[in-house]
């Protein structure tokens, strides 16, 4: 039984998320609606939402380096942080799902044709529930950058995909976590699809020396903010 959720959530400013039509990312061309979106006030369907935790998470799912007999190749890292709402309230017992390429930049996926090696000891998917303070923690391998077909010499900066259900349908978010000071940032249309610089930087994790473990792993911290309650209970379009 979960706690009561807000009656409605804040409406985010347009610059908070990327536009659906973003020509530098060519695949958006045929996959974005052209008609105006219809305003949906938050109703009971949007202020409730699935809580998949116990069904989806098994012991060991948060350690992506321990899912096979051997140790994966690459730089072992710890990725941790908190899931919060925009009021700073932690979301406890909420599902965090991640997936990523291996150290060579290759996904364990039939559709990935990049010629980098697959790693028999790395599947690249993890799950966990946040604790009572909204914290999560994964042990994994730092993913490599990889080429893609968007334009000549296109490379994705290293990233880990994050999926958050939050407390409600309205809070659902899928994003990508990046690593500090990646030289590929300025060339990547997906990263730059977030047009507001401050918003873009919220997708970059922070290196954390004090969370790093001697002779074991470097640590990166990534907090995710989902939108929080609106000040007014039933917000109409304005």
């Amino acid at each position: 039984m979960s706690e009561e959720t807000p009656d409605s959530y804040i409406r985010e400013p347009p610059e908070a998320h990327p536009p659906l039509d973003y020509p530098p990312y060519k695949s958006t061309a045929l996959r974005h609606p052209k008609q105006p979106l219809v305003y949906l006030p938050h109703t009971i369907t949007e202020i409730t939402g699935p809580q998949l935790g116990t069904e989806r998470v098994r012991d060991g799912d948060s350690d992506l380096t321990a899912q096979h007999a051997g140790t994966p190749i690459g730089e072992r890292i710890i990725v941790s942080g908190r899931i919060l709402d925009t009021n700073g309230k932690p979301l406890r017992d909420t599902l965090v799902e991640v997936w990523q390429a291996n150290a060579a930049g290759r996904y364990r996926h039939v559709g990935d044709r990049w010629e980098a090696e697959l790693d028999p000891n790395f599947s690249g998917a993890g799950r966990c529930l946040t604790d009572g303070e909204g914290r999560y923690r994964f042990t994994t391998i730092k993913p490599g950058p990889y080429p893609w077909g968007n334009h000549h010499n296109a490379w994705r900066p290293a990233h880990i995909h994050f999926s958050l259900l939050g407390r409600s349908f309205a809070q659902r978010l899928v994003t990508q976590m990046y690593f500090p000071a990646d030289p590929l940032f300025e060339f990547d249309p997906i990263f730059n699809s977030v047009r507001d610089r401050a918003a873009r930087e919220r997708m970059i994790s922070r290196f954390q020396m004090h969370e790093s473990v001697d002779h074991w792993a470097l640590a990166f911290e990534f907090d995710v903010y989902l939108r929080g309650p609106s000040a007014t209970p039933f917000e109409e379009e304005h």
Binding site: H17, R31, L37, T43, P50, T86, G88, E97, A125
Partner: protein, 187 residues
């Protein structure tokens, strides 16, 4: 509001290593009494099936209660009701299918009832943010006519939100663009 939200990014072309799972299509358990399928295809702006979409569904049970009401009333007592489905694969043919039960009407915040509906999130490579639509049911015309939200949708576009009866359930297609572009909502 003290903090700004983390921006959305595309689910990408390789989400199936992390998100779908066996049984993810089951809003209700297999062989549940009264279970129906809802199936369809997601199309792009050229009318081609989108083979790499991920869809999520969230709905009430036939009595209008959700699997978790989050304190807004008593939860569904329908046995095994998850109220949620997640389906998708990148090597697909654009089709999807879920097993569910028809939801009941649920309240509109200002009073009155919303017609039976299912909230749907659409994710895919090439979509930088989810698109949200709703499935309504073509055989609920009285409830649909009285639904406060459907009343806000331009009349000539309402049909894009309707699932139509077929054997074993309903058919509902999603068109991201084009002359019959599905209505999407700002949530």
């Amino acid at each position: 509001m003290r903090f700004a939200t983390t921006p959305s990014q595309t689910v990408g072309p390789f989400f199936s290593i992390g998100l779908p799972w066996d049984g993810g299509q089951l809003v209700v358990p297999r062989d549940s009494p009264g279970a129906i399928t809802i199936a369809g295809t997601v199309y792009d702006g050229q009318g081609e099936p989108v083979p790499d979409h991920l869809l999520e569904f969230w709905q009430a049970d036939p009595s209008g209660r959700f699997a978790d009401m989050h304190g807004h009333g008593g939860p569904s007592d329908l046995e095994g009701f998850r109220g949620f489905a997640r389906v998708g694969a990148e090597d697909g043919d654009g089709r999807f299918e879920i097993l569910t039960v028809k939801p009941g009407p649920v309240p509109w915040p200002d009073g009155g009832l919303q017609a039976p509906h299912i909230d749907v999130s659409v994710f895919a490579r090439g979509m930088l943010h989810r698109c949200v639509t709703r499935i309504y049911f073509s055989d609920e015309s009285d409830a649909n006519d009285a639904c406060p939200l459907l009343g806000r949708v331009p009349a000539e576009r309402r049909g894009t939100l309707l699932a139509y009866p077929v054997e074993d359930g309903y058919r509902f297609d999603i068109r991201l663009q084009g002359p019959d572009e599905t209505v999407f909502f700002a949530v």
